[in-house]
């Protein structure tokens, strides 16, 4: 690469550069590539390993409280509920940063990540999951309303392709 390529050139050079820029623009104008995933209609299937909403299994939990101790955002807490002998973890999604430390530290697989990530709330209070509420399956609202799942595929030509399943 010549050193002076990135300097203002004479009229001819500059016209060539203008033409190259416009031609590139036109080439993309006429291509059919898109990067957008039209979310409420299509939803990306995140698959195994994604650090999404956390699922707690009450039956597996041994109340060791490691998850609450490791939580860097003070989102996971041990709740002492009326009428319960043991303390159980609950989570505050106002704070959760999805670092996944709690899942990684749980010795009995009582906590696991789900690929669901697109839950929204109308009220702040709804975001606090006390143990009684925490032990439920997560369902993506978009998927529930019939969004088509797409899979992300790497592609040399378009970078990421989103293939409907």
């Amino acid at each position: 690469m010549a050193e002076d390529v990135y300097k203002p050139g004479n009229l001819l050079v500059s016209l060539k550069r203008h033409a190259a820029a416009i031609a590139t623009g036109l080439r993309y104008l006429l291509s059919t590539k898109r990067m957008t995933v039209r979310y409420p209609e299509f939803v990306i299937d995140l698959g195994e390993g994604y650090r999404g909403m956390i699922r707690w299994h009450r039956d597996r939990c041994i109340s060791c409280s490691l998850c609450a101790q490791i939580c860097p955002a003070a989102a996971m807490k041990m709740y002492k509920l009326p009428g319960e002998k043991k303390m159980y973890p609950g989570i505050n999604y106002q704070r959760c940063i999805f670092c996944g430390f709690c899942v990684d530290v749980c010795p009995v697989f009582a906590l696991e990540h789900t690929p669901v990530h697109d839950i929204s709330y109308e009220e702040l209070d709804e975001m606090i999951y006390v143990p009684t509420k925490f032990d439920t399956e997560w369902v993506s609202p978009a998927a529930k309303e019939g969004a088509r799942p797409v899979k992300v595929v790497f592609d040399e030509e378009v970078g990421l392709r989103h293939e409907p399943q």
């Binding site: 939580c71 003070a74 807490k77 041990m78 709740y79 002492k80 009326p82």
Partner: protein, 160 residues
């Protein structure tokens, strides 16, 4: 001559304590009055910029340690950091600025003034940088400014 010896030779006449904390990390501590001289000597040894200016509040000793971490862009000094530090009393934290030696200390010194209340005499711009302009409390990085961390247990049985 090894770098450590060079630094020793240059700085020990000032009464500096030079030690190698870890490979590539040399600590030099001097009296507050000798800071500028020590800085100039380090600069002439090739340490041409300051990576960090910081204070550590040793509240039990009633002292604040002000540390300048100097490094160099010269290839032979790559990978070496020299900590030039001094201890000054907590209740009268004043020190001459080193921006004449190391202009790169301009913003870090300003930040250290703001966060630990250390007055750098001769610094042209000691005004709020990161905190709100009307911040009134004690310098926040001092140890007597406490941040309360929550516990990890919520007791819902005691409610009502």
């Amino acid at each position: 001559m090894a770098l450590l010896d060079k630094i020793r030779e240059a700085l020990e006449p000032l009464g500096a304590k030079v030690e190698e904390v870890r490979p590539g990390y040399i600590s030099v501590s001097v009296d507050a009055g000798n800071m500028r001289k020590a800085a100039q000597l380090l600069f002439s040894l090739g340490f041409d910029h300051v990576v960090s200016v910081e204070g550590v509040d040793w509240i039990k000793d009633k002292e604040i340690e002000v540390a300048y971490h100097a490094a160099s862009y010269e290839p032979e000094l790559h990978g070496v950091i020299v900590k030039l530090s001094t201890r000054i009393p907590r209740d009268k934290p004043e020190l001459d600025t080193l921006i004449e030696v190391w202009p790169s200390a301009l913003y870090p010194e300003r930040e250290t003034w703001e966060m630990l209340g250390i007055v750098f005499r001769g610094h042209p711009e000691l005004k709020r940088l990161l905190l709100p302009p009307d911040y009134q409390g004690p310098p926040p990085l001092r140890k007597d400014y406490r941040v309360v961390e929550e516990g990890f247990i919520v007791d819902l049985t005691r409610k009502q």
